[in-house]
Amino acid sequence: MMQTEIAVLRFGLGARTGDLAAAGGDPRAWLMAQIEGAVPLAGNTPLAPSDRIFAELLAARDALEELKRESAAQRAPTDATAAAAFNPVRDAYLPHYRAQVLARAQSAALTTRPFAERLVHFWTNHFAVSADKGAVLGIAGTLENEAIRPHIGGRFVDLLTAVEQHPAMIAFLDNQYSVGKDSVLALLAARRGAGAGATEGKPKREFGINENLAREILELHTLGVNGGYTQTDVTNFAQIITGWSIGGGKGRLVGGTPGQFYFRDNLHEPGPKNFLGKIYHESGRRQGEAVLADLAVHPATAHFIATKLVRHFVADDPPPAAVERVARAFLKSGGDLSRVYAALVQAPEAWDADVRKFKTPEDFVFSTLRALGFSPQKPEEMVRAFELLGQRQYTPGSPAGWPDTSKSWDGSDALLRRVLWASRVAGRYEQGLDPADLAVSCLGAYARPETVTALRRASSASQGVALLLMSPEFQRR
């Protein structure tokens, strides 16, 4: 019962007209056919790659420095308000952020591979960066488009490595200037310091590591918080990935292409290192890659990823049998993601029509666009919609990503915001379909008779569409 609806509404992003018919023959085959190969954006918004965006950021920073120098030289009285309004970094980044938000919404609205697109969203949230960190604003979306979309159906290790070496992740978790104590740079600086001494009034720069990226890779991207690592493992892993940085620095940090991953050998802590009971003898960048390769097939990683996938696709409290099935497929295939998804699709628990997930604001917006056949064209509109609904795109705030359980989204205030947005969107629905017929076309057998009756009795078409969007069956997937 309702297998088609479950495939389209739960595994996919909600039905566009015709989706239910397309999936109707063999819902499982319809899903599995979608995950072959990379998942490019559907839609028509041109996007710049990270290196170009990053180059613009650096140019904007230089302009800002220049301006500061000038005003300092002129001793002009600084106008605080004008200074605050003038933010070349934000100005350089913001158009890119908006374009990425629009492109993402268009892709969700139009894609013919909604299961693959949902997986893109899942992994983006798993490998969360947050655009509310200034350095990340313009490149948060490029992590999704450059590191995640190409690797959706491939091996987990490739996905993992691409993400951890993406400039947005490195900048978000502060690894670009994490420096080994015995690195070339630190030793050079120490020698210089011993000779000439520190500059007057300015403390000598001390070099050291930053644990942030190492800890979150272990806790949030691979093993999970109870994955059996210790503080020493975190510290050692941070040493291992010293030098994982972004190209385009100055002075002693010169080198690499701005906005692309760059391994800075002179920041790297040399020598073999112990991590989770194993000695890694590789040198340079390969040492960190060897650790990622081991983490990517670790049983704790398999279990952690399986739990999150099942929570996302099945239920807030993931049924252990389904988790076990997916984790086993992960381990047995060495992290072959297409095998992992196949196990998920085969899990009987995923096809229980009585267990449903409450949609996140993202789910709600994307399924609405699909149901109404809208393809958004104005970036402002999408940005504002997500602001209103409490899920500003690419800004989960924390590296743990957005929560994936209903109790994090089901506040009464949040519900009222959905009503408000639904009524606004419904007001613009002009495609002749009667709301009751629309309900059947986008919900199939999910639509309850009483809902259909209520929609027939609505006092206007737009009120009927708003009621449809806010109906319990549309709010769940």
């Binding site: 934000r90 994490s178 050291g208 930053n210 602001e387 506040g411 009503v419 809902t451 209520a454």
Partner: protein, 424 residues
């Protein structure tokens, strides 16, 4: 020898405890605050505030060497700490908190932590909010369990037997307030103006779905509650400067003040909540934390401003209010390689308000010498935050001690409630 300045505060702390153990024996009738009048605001700082910057232990000889350019100097020099007790100071951004400290309305805690000893934000916040000794095992929060207990004890005349006694200033209810006791959530942005007819038809549509109908009726009721209390959305501080622009570089300081104003407005309205929870993020300062000025200083300025707003807006309620400011854990004693600090253990907390018997620092200071640090890196906690939570719930909210020790904070026998934190 370097511990001598610390000894004063240790002794003071012990003395305080002894004096108040006696006070606790006084009959209840002498206490001004019966259950119905006390107000409690909990401010959760998500991301782990650096307690060694917010409450600098400038007299500890190891402090400046470890915290380096992030350290706050002793009081009396430019950009130095605001003086507290000769050992600890406050970050120079915390001017309002300092003013209230001098007025005897703030207790400053240092070297405190929840029972959680690992360094994950998310598990740390779970423990901070669930009231257990471990991150999983409870779907509800300690503050909600306390409210449920208060409702069960069916209390004082004139007090509401049911209805929401707490509000979360948030779109969704945070863990600390989740549970059986009814609570509302409200976020400080323009209150949506939704067509009444649509709402009533939705109510019909939801009539067979308890889950949706409960939320809708709550939403409609709280919408009215906000209007009755005046529209906080009118404040310019709460309107985003440019619509559609994520606050990429702004520290969100005004957002916290907006939340504080909204909490106060709701609490002052007739029949309004007694308890409010406010959240503030952005404390995870791994890089370029800054010292007396800089990124963290801006955040602290925002926090200080929010506390001032809260006090101003609560107005006549301030004398019966306690404000608890807490974070999931502290940060490393030493500066890291990127002029920031990594996840640590022991940190600071504040208890402020007209109901608070303040003007004191409570810190059984373990010191920052290499031998004293936890795992060679973190400030070692010497006080369990649950001792503080229990004290506030006991003395201020009048939750009975047995319920506190069993239902609200299970497995917390090691964390005995502090005493004498609230004015008699």
């Amino acid at each position: 020898m370097h511990r001598s300045p610390m000894r004063t505060s240790r002794r003071r702390f012990l003395l305080g405890t002894a004096a108040l153990a006696a006070g606790a024996a006084l009959p209840d009738v002498l206490f001004a605050h019966t259950g119905g009048s006390a107000r409690l605001v909990v401010v959760i700082l998500r991301g782990a505030l650096d307690g060694l910057a917010a409450v600098p232990p400038y007299a500890d000889p190891a402090y400046a060497g470890l915290h380096r350019e992030l350290a706050i100097s002793a009081p009396g020099v430019a950009d130095g700490a605001l003086a507290l007790d000769g050992t600890f100071g406050l970050h120079p951004s915390l001017t309002f908190l300092h003013e209230r400290y001098l007025a005897g309305e703030v207790v400053v805690f240092n070297a405190v932590a929840s029972p959680y000893r690992d360094r994950s934000h998310f598990d740390g916040q779970n423990v901070l909010e669930n009231g257990l000794a471990k991150p999983i095992g409870s779907a509800d929060g300690w503050l909600n369990r306390a409210l449920a207990a208060l409702s069960r004890s069916a209390g004082q005349p004139g007090e509401r037997a049911s209805g929401e006694r707490a509000v979360a200033i948030s779109q969704n209810v945070p863990l600390i307030l989740r549970g059986d006791a009814p609570v509302i959530s409200k976020s400080p942005q323009a209150s949506p103006d939704v067509d009444e007819e649509l709402l009533s038809r939705l109510a019909d549509l939801y009539s067979k779905d308890d889950w949706f109908s409960a939320r809708l009726s709550e939403a409609v009721q709280t919408g009215k509650l906000t209007e009755a209390g005046g529209s906080p959305a009118e404040s310019p501080a709460m309107n985003p400067t440019t619509p559609g622009v994520p606050p990429a570089t702004t520290p969100g300081t005004d957002r916290v003040s907006g939340a504080a104003r909204m909490a106060a407005t709701l609490m002052r309205s007739v029949g309004g909540p007694e308890v409010a929870v406010i959240e503030a993020g952005g404390w995870d300062t791994h890089a370029n934390q800054g010292g007396a000025k800089g990124a963290l200083a801006q955040r602290l300025t925002g926090l200080d401003k929010a506390l001032r707003t809260l006090a101003d807006e609560l107005g006549p309620l301030w004398p019966q209010t306690a404000v608890l400011v807490v974070t999931e854990f502290g940060r490393t004693a030493a500066m890291n390689g990127t002029r920031g600090t990594d996840h640590g253990t022991g940190g600071c907390a504040f208890l402020a308000g007209g109901a608070v018997r303040g003007g004191r620092v409570i810190a059984d200071w373990p010191g920052l010498s290499r031998a004293a640090l936890l795992d060679n890196r973190d400030l070692r906690p010497t006080l369990d935050l649950r001792s503080l939570f229990k004290a506030v719930l006991d003395e201020h909210m009048r939750v009975d001690a047995k319920t506190l020790a069993t239902r609200i904070f299970p497995d917390s026998s090691g964390a005995r409630p502090l005493q004498g934190l609230i004015r008699a």
